[in-house]
Symmetry: none
Subunit: 224 residues, 2 copies
DNA sequence: ATTTTTGTTAATGTAAGGTTAAATGGCAAT
DNA sequence: ATTGCCATTTAACCTTACATTAACAAAAAT
């Protein structure tokens, strides 16, 4: 997507040669249509485009997807343009003419970062809770690097759910449906029993507590 | 939706001129049918309507949707009507004849409030009241960053409603219908008990008080 | 003056949550 | 098959939380 009608084609060929799958749009309008239709790992926009300038397009893309990396391409090395670009959610900036090697490197870095972010779902399974480390995949809870306590499946899932909502409300019904797959009087009592067990484990760090919000659910809070 | 067959058309044109998208119903029946079919940001009802009066319509609308703002329009400035309006869940009241500028302002304010509410969830649940912080989602009240006091569901909802009307009148009937979903002698007494409880909590900040407006409701004021 | 509304405290009944122990039931080792 | 172990559920009992109602005092309206 750019002004010089040849440059885009050249860039596309160059990237394709380097094993990227590229979709080329001739202008901002077309770019947005294509963006809506498919999933892309990266967008490269030219600031100067017919029909719809790069900033506007970037803004629209950001509205649809707040994560996709955006690189701006421009002939102008003007500072206010760079700022404006970052403001609408650009990830990087490149001046035309530019070293094709540099572009390749940047693309690689961005896609790499994206990949590692999504791979390390570790975020979903490893939590710091005050001085505790919870490893939810291996089901253990460690205090200050001391020796880990094994957690039962239910203990583990419940603590994980609480940690996912740290400092916020974890509604009773959410835990019951997610962990017990049924919400009735007995599962509810069972859950209370597990809350008691977790509180016992967590006593080692007096900053950490599980608070009850009557009729609503529980709240894992870490003070200070 | 109104009695004077011309007035509705005039109002519709006026609002349309001011860039609002308006659907006009000739009576209460038609109004309810249209309400069920589409989503509206705001309802303006005339108390006097053929076939189905404004109060009945408001009640039906409230059953379907407890959030949509309702403004009553009436020639009568009678107090019992105003009260009845709040009882069935109105958000505001306007006497005919009225200043069209005032109506526009109110509409703008209501829609604005709605918009910001849906954008930032936190705004719906977090209030500053003098030196207090009310977190209405987690049901606690904190004084000057001290340790939070837990609020019961009723305490919480009542204080939240007062905060939403800060410095303004919160009509008795509004609280009773929104929180107690019933307006009778006993719920009214119950509410008074909760007002007393809230006053006790709020004593910590002498600038904050809940005033009674005899026969009307309460007013949460923050002095200075 | 008297009726209505509001302020406040205490009493009551019910529901929800905290905690411990016993019962259940699956599973693996014997 | 029997045993013992473990995670989980159920039971039991107790405490806390919550909302309502009653009762009486004070304030405001009529």
């Amino acid at each position: 997507m750019e002004d010089d009608p040849n440059f885009g084609t050249v860039l596309k060929d160059y990237l394709t040669m380097n094993d990227y799958e590229v979709t080329h749009a001739k202008n901002g309008m077309e770019g947005f249509e294509k963006f809506k239709k498919d999933d892309y790992d990266l967008c490269i926009l030219d600031v100067m485009m017919p029909y719809k300038d790069g900033f506007t397009l970037a803004k629209e893309i950001r509205e649809k997807n707040k994560d996709v990396p955006i690189i701006f391409l421009t002939a102008k090395a003007m500072k206010e343009d760079v700022l404006k670009g970052y403001k609408v959610g650009a990830d990087d900036y490149l001046n035309k003419p530019f070293d094709s090697e540099v572009l390749l490197m940047k693309i690689k870095a961005i896609i790499q970062r994206k990949a590692t972010e999504t791979i390390s779902d570790s975020k979903q399974f490893e939590f710091k809770i005050g001085h505790f480390d919870l490893n939810s995949k291996l089901r253990f809870l460690k205090f200050k690097g001391g020796n880990p306590v094994k957690l039962s499946p239910k203990e583990n899932e419940l603590l994980r759910l609480l940690a996912l909502h740290e400092n916020d409300l974890m509604p009773r019904a959410l835990a019951l449906t997610k962990i017990w797959r049924d919400d009735n009087y007995f599962t509810s009592r069972s859950m209370d029993v597990y809350i008691a067990k977790l509180r016992k484990y967590l006593k080692l760090d007096e900053r950490v507590e599980i608070l009850n919000i009557h009729g609503e659910g529980f709240r894992l809070v870490v003070n200070q």
